[in-house]
């Protein structure tokens, strides 16, 4: 039965080789005249891959501005998806030049990567339906309200620890939470205010953000540890963006529809 064996082995080899050939390999911080930038692909208002393949969002606009200041035109940018758990790995392995992907500056992360910025200051907040009147902040959730967040995330745990009267619903993605909010199955979604604003901006007038932010998150641009030259350049680009109005324009374009006025841009940490 050797012909059968040959067929079996051949089929197995083909099956293994085919998918790897099909997945294109890219990488490196940009070869020659392209630059690889990491951002989120599924965060409306901040970093979103549109159905037609283009990218949009506040983080994306900031990254484009910085890249232009570094000498790369928009069509020389290669975008790479940076899920939350893999941002440090991407930077350390030189798979991206820098990352602008709702990247909070924390001391633990500073041990692995350097940060330029911050370019945005936000905090945890609540998203509710536009006609909701009984939720005004985290304390009003105590009244047996239903809150939604992503499984295992810190925002959800924070509220549960402080306000035990709250019921917590966990889904795998924020968009599932927003869908549940739309259908009335839950009363509020919680995460960083600016991420909530992105979802609110997708359907203007349907949702609103309530309560003052009850934590502080500073979003920065992550880059390779020790690259002070690049860090200075990016900081200069961010300062320039904040001063010449492009920062406000990017905010209004991406997050304005959520009904939040553009705050004053934060001072860059030199």
């Amino acid at each position: 039965m050797s012909s059968m064996k040959v067929r079996v082995v051949g089929a197995i080899a083909l099956a293994i080789a085919l998918p790897f050939a099909a997945t294109a390999c890219g990488g490196g911080g940009g070869g020659g005249d392209t630059i690889v930038i990491g951002t989120k692909f599924d965060q409306p208002g901040l970093g979103l891959k549109n159905p037609d393949g283009t990218m949009s969002g506040f983080d994306v606009d900031v990254a484009k501005y910085v890249a232009k200041q570094l000498g790369y035109a928009e069509d020389k940018i290669e975008w790479k998806e940076s899920p939350s758990g893999q941002r440090e790995t991407l930077i350390q392995n030189d798979q991206v030049k820098f990352i602008a992907a709702t990247y909070s500056i924390t001391d633990t992360r500073k041990q692995k990567v350097d940060f330029a910025g911050p370019y945005l200051i936000t905090g945890q907040s609540l998203l509710v339906k536009a006609d909701n009147t009984d939720i005004t902040g985290p304390e009003s959730l105590q009244n047996n309200k239903k809150l939604c967040s992503v499984s295992g995330s810190t925002p959800a745990q924070r509220i549960k620890d402080k306000y035990p009267g709250v019921q917590l619903q966990q889904y795998d993605t924020y968009s599932a939470c927003v869908e549940a909010l739309k259908n009335g199955a839950i009363d509020a979604v919680t995460t960083d205010e600016v991420i909530l604003a992105g979802y609110a901006a997708q359907t203007p007038g349907a949702f609103k953000i309530v309560g003052k932010p009850f934590s502080e998150e500073r979003y920065g641009i992550g880059l390779k540890k020790g690259d002070t030259d690049l860090r200075t350049k990016i900081n200069d680009a961010l300062t320039k963006m904040e001063q010449d109005g492009a920062w406000k324009a990017a905010w209004d374009k991406n997050l304005g529809p959520a009904g939040i006025a553009a705050p004053t841009p934060p001072p860059v940490d030199k």
Partner: protein, 226 residues
């Protein structure tokens, strides 16, 4: 409770939820599955057709999709929440009951096929003798065929139950506080991946291996001597 620094994780509680999900879904699936098997064997063509379509559709759908449908389709769109919306634990209860519903619907298809194959192992003479005695279809099934069929398929039914135990992990997609959700939370917040993985893997081995041995013993014990 498992402690990492100042954070505590209720591992035993999560596994208890797994056991509850398994037990309740198993009872539902057994009842629904036997009913479906009866439908597929019955003389009414419409019932035949419903049973066959149900099994063919459900067996070819991923369980993840069914569970997501229960939450988004049933609960949020059709409004079937199975729970009193004023209660203090309405979200938890709702997810729990919807998950049980999803598992019951899915596993019933496999129970149906197993029972049907069990009915096929009963010698033809039994059914013919029952008919010649004047038993109706329902009596035939109830008194002669199903008891023998069940005794013949104890092993495969045990396999279905063990597979159900493992499938309950998929309920984490809608936030039911069972083992897989706790594992996801723990691995995201703690740095001891190998330790955490070992705990949950050993936990499931402890759950399933005794079940397998038990059903093996039960199958031999209850096998019909022919």
């Amino acid at each position: 409770m498992l402690h990492f620094g100042d954070r505590a994780y209720d591992v035993l509680g999560a596994f208890w939820t797994t056991i509850q999900l398994t037990a309740l879904s198993a009872i539902g699936a057994l009842i629904l599955g036997t009913l479906l098997a009866a439908m597929r064997l019955s003389p009414v063509p419409m019932l035949n057709w419903i049973g066959t379509t149900y099994v063919n559709v459900v067996r070819n759908t991923p369980l993840t999709l069914i569970i997501l449908f229960c939450s988004f389709g049933l609960a949020q769109t059709l409004g079937i929440t199975l729970v009193n919306s004023k209660s203090l634990t309405s979200i938890e209860d709702s997810n729990f009951r919807l998950a049980i519903l999803g598992f019951t619907v899915y596993t019933a298809a496999f129970v149906c096929e197993t029972v049907r194959s069990g009915v096929n192992t009963v010698p033809l003479g039994q059914a013919e003798a029952a008919r010649s005695l004047g038993l109706t279809f329902a009596q035939n099934l109830r008194i002669v065929l199903l008891p023998q069929a069940f005794r013949a398929v104890i092993n495969p039914l045990g396999s279905v139950l063990i597979a159900l135990t493992k499938n309950t992990t998929i309920a984490s997609a809608i936030g039911v506080a069972e083992a897989a959700l706790l594992m996801k939370t723990m691995t995201e917040n703690e740095a001891a991946l190998i330790y955490i993985g070992a705990i949950f893997m050993v936990g499931f081995v402890i759950l399933t291996l005794p079940m397998g041995l038990f059903f093996g013993w039960l199958g031999k014990r209850l096998a019909v001597a022919r």
